[in-house]
Structures are given as C-alpha cells and as structure tokens.
Symmetry: C2
Subunit: 460 residues, 2 copies
C-alpha cells in the first residue's frame, strides 16, 4: 500500500473531482477499491490493483476499502489492520490517518457500511470477492460483465463526464508514466542487438519500469510477429532480417498509464521494404497528430490514418486505385484492421469497464464496417482528453488468406508487388497525445520515431 506520496494538493484535487461528480448527480455513490485476485492458491495473489474509479476519487491504492460520496461529503469505510497482520505486513496506516490523507469527512469500520447503502449507486469492480459483496450489500446483481442500469448507469455516465478530460494532478502522473515508458523503449532498443530471444528485450524494458517502482499498465507485447495484434509470446528467437514490435507502457504507483509502441529492425537497420512501409505508417501517425485539436471528431482522425496509409500503399504499388475510394471500400483494413487509438488515463483503454460509454458519444454505436468496427473512440475531441495515436501495417494471414476478403479486394491489391514485402509482418507506431485548445501535446515525444533516429537508438 502506498501512502507516502500524499500532500494537501492531493486532497484538493480529490475534493475537486468529487465536487464535479456531486454537481452531476443527486444520489449517494459507493465505490469499492476491490481486493486481491488469487493466482494459483488464495494466499498467492496477483499484484493488487485498485479499481480505477476508486483511485480517481480516493487517490490511494487501498485494498478492501470503500468510499461513500454524497453531495461532496466523503465517508471512508475500512478496517484497521488486525494486530497479527503487523508481523506479516508491517505497521499499516490506520483508518483515521488515511481518512485525513484523502480528505474524508468521516472514517468508519467496514461493518457500518451496510447502514449506508440505501439508494446508492455503484460500479462493479473486477474481483469476485468484492463484486459478491457489492451484490449482497446493495441487494442487486453487481457484476463486471453486466452493463450498469438505472442509477448505476447514471453514475457511470457522470463518471465518464468527469474522467473524460484530465486535471493537472492526473496530467502530472500521466507525464511520469510517459517519461518512464520512453526510457523503457530506449532500453529495449539498446538491448536488441545483443539479445537472442524476444524475452530478453522485454526484460530490458520492464526492468526500467520496475526500477521506477511502477508496473506495466497491460501485458507487454514484444514480438517478431507484429502481425499478431495481441501477441503475448516472448520465446521467438531474434533473426537479423526481422522487425521487432514493442507495445509496452508503464503505470504509476497510483494507477495512471502510458501506452507506447515502436517497431525497429533487429539488426538495427531497416531493409528498404521495411523502411518504405515504416515511412507510410509514420506519415499516417504524423498526419493524425497534426490534425488533433479540440472539436475535431476522433473518427475523422481514424479515417485520415486510413487514407494516408492507403495513399502510401498506392504509391508503393501495393494498392491499385484512389486512396479515398479504397477507404470507402474498407480496403485499408486489409492491412490496418484496428482503430487509430483510444482514451488513455487510469486504464490503458480508459473506462473500458463501462463498455462503450466512455469511448462513444451518446447515441453513437459501433459500426459494423470492416474498416471501422474496432474503433474504440468516437467522440469530438475536447481539451484535456488524452488519446493514443497508433496506426499500423500488418500482414495478417487470417485476413489476407480469407477467401471472402481476398475475392472482394482481389483487384485492388497488386499481390505480386505485395509479395516483395514479406519481411514486413507488422509495424505499429504509437504515441500518447493530449488534446489542447490549440492543437495537441505529445506526452511521449521524447521517444524518437523517425526511422533513422530509431536506427541510431538500436545501434548494431
């Protein structure tokens, strides 16, 4: 449990957040922090991660704690550690001490929570022990798999409104996560030419994150098979002609995330075909970031990436035809089958526990178009939103060998020309971009993404 980095400014920030929420709803709210999830037996647990909603309003990763908010009034419910726990876990801060740190008006033992649940809304946490308790106390089914309804839905929408744009305290944490992530990627690049398998590069990257007393915000992707979008294998050997795709992000001690991808050549130097495609992806990345500013629709950023990629592939002779028309036909999704990015905050896909409530503007729904269905964010951008921009190019066998897709797009692709690019299985370039009134700020800008600059960092 982290309690050392607290200050009056934390209390002020938390009060402001709770006040904002109070201005949007007129019912009490109870938020659970959650508890440990067991790994292979009950006492061997995964590292504790507090619920993001709890973290947002309570600020500290307290296990098994509850806050109740009503009209700006904050009650903290948690039990003081048992005397015997001091042997195993040391002297822990007491309830009253924590209450002061987070600006709670009252601190009570957990047993009193049941007296204060009436009419309260909540959000399901992820661990079974806690959502069972939530369901019992509130006397209705509260489950992470069930979309919230009634006042829980109203609460979810209000929380989305508050969390959608970041305050200064959040940005300070997000910048810390970004800075450590930048260092992790540099370490991964520097470790590559002497590494034999993917796992060794991953180790160099995660060591930077662990050394800063942070954790990864999601399971790292460090792979020579970038065409597998969520590849979590690390045993492949590193071959000189291959690319390495690393999607690795840090999370600060109080839960704020970064999410960065770079792709580099294992030998240090891109082949000419790799460089050609890399520059297409980078052009899409740069065009998107140049277009970001408050008021712009994120879907238009996505479509811009699609168009720039299609254009680039036309120029390389891989696509035939006109970029705009290719995108209208979703042909880009043959090679860029995911969305251009997502919200980033306490969660790497921020508030994805609420389904599309955060990602999608009210009354909008996921498209069933091949080229749009995976878009996780569809809203007009607002100052203070943090989004990822992560265009890519992949040769996914499951797509390119799909008989239906292949026949549908057969005449739009120069398959023979494409066969010259077999050493490009997957490239992605991803940065974390803060929306401002005037434009944007790339929080991860300290990590180079120009092909030659990346080559310099890898060396070899």
């Amino acid at each position: 449990m982290l309690i050392q980095n607290t200050s009056n400014s934390l209390v002020d920030t938390l009060r402001q957040r709770r006040q904002k929420l109070a201005s949007l709803i007129d019912f009490p709210v109870i938020l659970w922090s959650g508890n440990d999830s067991p790994r292979n037996y009950p006492a061997n647990v995964f590292p504790f991660r507090a619920s993001s909603h709890f973290l947002y309003f309570a600020g500290l990763p307290l296990p098994n704690a509850v806050i109740r908010l009503e009209a700006g009034f904050l009650e903290l419910f948690m039990d003081d550690p048992k005397p015997s726990s001091a042997l195993w876990h040391g002297e822990m801060p007491r309830r009253e001490e924590i209450a002061e740190k987070i600006g709670a008006d009252v601190a009570k033992p957990m047993v009193e929570l049941e007296l204060s649940v009436e009419g309260a809304a909540t959000i399901a946490v992820q661990d079974a022990g806690t959502w069972t308790q939530q369901s019992q106390l509130l006397d209705r089914l509260v489950l992470p798999q069930i979309q919230p309804a009634g006042i829980d839905l109203e609460l979810a929408k209000a929380i989305v409104t508050v969390r959608l744009t970041h305050d200064e305290a959040a940005l300070a944490e997000l910048r810390k996560a970004a800075a450590v992530t930048v260092e992790a990627h540099k370490a991964g690049m520097a470790a590559t030419t002497s590494a034999k398998i993917e796992a060794e590069v991953r180790a160099a990257m995660e060591a930077v994150i662990i050394a800063h007393n942070m954790t990864t915000s999601y399971n790292s992707i460090v792979t020579v098979h970038g065409e597998v979008l969520h590849n979590e294998q690390y045993h492949h050997s590193l071959q000189p002609g291959d690319l390495l795709l690393a999607d690795v992000g840090a999370e600060t001690e109080i839960g704020w995330a970064a999410d960065v991808t770079r792709t580099w050549a294992i030998s240090g130097k891109f082949s000419s075909t790799q460089r050609d495609i890399y520059d297409v992806v980078l052009a899409a990345h740069d065009a998107c970031i140049a277009k970001i500013r408050a008021g712009v629709e994120y879907e238009d950023i996505h479509l811009l990436a699609c168009t720039v990629i299609a254009e680039g592939l036309v120029d390389l002779g891989i696509f035939k035809g006109n970029a705009e028309e290719l995108v209208e036909m979703d042909a880009h999704a043959l090679f860029f089958p995911h969305g251009i990015g997502h919200l980033l905050g306490l969660d790497v896909h921020d508030m994805e526990d609420l389904g599309d409530l955060a990602g999608y503007e009210e009354k909008r729904e996921r498209s069933d178009r091949f080229g749009l269905g995976y878009l996780r964010l569809n809203r007009p951008l607002r100052p203070g939103m943090l989004v990822t921009i992560e265009p890519g190019f992949y040769q996914v066998p499951a797509i390119l060998n799909d008989a239906n897709l292949r026949s549908k797009y057969h005449n739009l692709v120069n398959w023979e020309r494409l066969s010259q690019f077999t050493d490009v299985r997957g490239i992605r370039i991803e940065d974390d971009v803060l929306v401002t009134t005037e434009g944007s700020e790339v929080l991860t800008a300290a990590l180079p993404n120009q092909a030659s600059a990346v080559e310099d960092l890898v060396g070899g």
Copy 2:
C-alpha cells in the same frame, strides 16, 4: 499459450502421473485449467496462470481447457479458437493437435463436457469465471474458499499422494527454475551498490527471470525492512548501513517454482553485529540441511533450527539460559516467528490451495504454540520431496513491543545487549532442498550463502 516444448517424454510423464492417480481412486476426475482474471477491466487481464492440478496432469498452460480422467483414460475438452481470434492472438493450435501433445485419448468441444460430469470429482480453481462453471456443471458449490468434501476430498488426498514427491520431469523443471533464480539473486547483489531504492534491485533480479521467459512464482520481497515478513513495498532508499533482504523465485513456463532468500549488506560489507546474527542464521540453515534425509520428521528440522538459533543468541548474550529450554518455552519465536519452510513444486507453497492436506500428515493439526503455529509442513520426509529451508532472525516491533510477550519473556532476554543489534532488522537465508534416501540435494547450491562469499558478490 506454450506449446513448443513438448515431446514424447512429456506424454510418457503425464501418462505415468495419470496412471498413479488412477490407481488411488475409482471415480472419474474432471480438472479445469481456469481462465484469465481481470485486472482493471475485463479485457486487461493478469498474466494467465493455469491451475497447478491441471498443469500436473495435462502439462501445458492451456486457458479454458478441461481434462477428464477415468481409469487412465484421458479426454480433453476445449474449443478451437474462433476464426476472429486469429487476428488478435494469431493462429492457435487446434484441439486435436493439443490432444496429441498431452496424450489425450479423445478430444471434444467444451459443450460436450456436461454429458460427462456425472459422479466426477474436482478441485476448485481460483478464478471466478471457472469456479462458477464448475459449480453449475457439477451442481454443487465448488469454491476455492471451501475445503473439499466427499469424493472431492478423496481426490484431493490422492492428488497430494501423487504430487508430494517429484518425478524426473518435474525435477528437470524445478532445476531450471532454481538455476534462473540463482542468476537473479546474483544480479540483484551486483546491482545493489549502484542502486538508490529497493525497486532498482528488484528490477535487476526480475529482469533475469523475464529474460529467461519465466515469471516470478510469487510477488517478490526486496526490502530493507526484512522484519516485515511479507513486505511488498519497494520504494525505500538504500542506506549504506542497512541490510537488504531479497526473497525472489522464478517459475518456469509450465509452472514449476523456485523460492530463494538471501540477505546482504547494502554497502557490500556486513557490520560486525550483522555478521554475528547472519552466522547464527546460517548455522541453523546448515544444520537443518545436514539433518535432512528420508524418514526424518520435518517438525524436528524446524525444532533444530529453533535450537541452533537459540544457542547462537545465547552465545551472543542476547538470550539468557539454555537453548533447549528456551525452545520449549517458544522464546525463539520472539526472533524467528515463522516455520522453517514448506513444500515446493508447481506452487511455491505446494498444494496450499488444499489447505493443510498436503502440508500435514493425516491426523496431524496445526499447533497453537507461539513457536510452532506457522509451521506449514509437518510430515516425515520422503525421497523426492522438495522443501525450503529458510531460518531467519527478525526484530519485529509488533512482537518485541507486545506487552504480553515482553513480560512473559522478560527475564530470558538481555534487552540491553539486544539494543546493540539495531542494525539487524531482518535476516533470512532460504534454499530449495530435495530429499533423497541418503540425505539431500540443494537445488540452489550454486548461490553462495557464506557471509564472505555474499560480500564478494555484492562488491562495493
């Protein structure tokens, strides 16, 4: 999912294990592998860990798979990956392919499992999604928090009998885990003098484990506050006069664990008081290992450690009186309040999901003595058992400041003499020891534990 490291010898090993189990029971057995546990939202999961019982008999960490065993006949139940999953997770091995690798006689889709559940025993897995499914299909409450009963209890006892001693394939994995853990500790020692906080040493250690494509078998303890037995904080700064206690172990890709502790001086060199206590703990460690052989009671090993520690503390003038009498009065537990060790295998506390069924010989129960209650293993040792030996000395404020304990033991401790040892907050030395007919083999012997050898590894 790992499928590359399989061979005919794996199939033979798995068949032998299943045959042993079949010889002990006369009812069918269904074992679930389990599924992912969500972290902050359903799609952001903790790294998958298959149930240890499944791993023991099926050999591969397959998510969401089930095996049914009856009289040596093995059925595998799992679904082939959906076509759409190839985009995100790549081409996965198909059911039939996996069935062959693990020596299954039949492979069926999951939907057919419900036709084969009658009269079957099981063991609860840890993730809620799976134990819900177990409970539904078997039509009884199967929960990790509930001790097994009826045929489930019979199964648990049979599994304990089979898993209590390790076969050659298991030992090969356990040796791999031990070897990587040894390297991790050496890396941690080498990183200490240039590190500023605990997290940097932890990073150096875990990087070795990650680079070998392994994971930690439990949350690492790397702390200047060794007196907190399960300390999972890593933010403290490293001060030259302090000790660093590191309890870190690797787990192989198919789940076999190591568990090693070393304590070293942050400056590289122990103070004379630190060295004095270190040598007492090491004497206990060495005496225990010298005594290990088949037939010896593990409780006697524990009591030997207590006695050697008490003797050492008498010699140092900290305890007054006679070592045997001090141990009879549990005075040793003032400074050595935990057990001498535990079983080690697929779980770092092997089979602790079954409570004390594995650790305690039938008809034995935990003692309520202050000096014995935390002993996790109480059986006569048998060839092929792997145990930890981990004596320690700690100055735990919660114990030493406890008014009852302090008055009870007041005349047995020279408190003034003790006050000269304030720079020894916690020391533990832990190795993994295989019981043989003739004696024992220390799997982690490649990691020095003599004070001067540890000083050499730290340097400085």
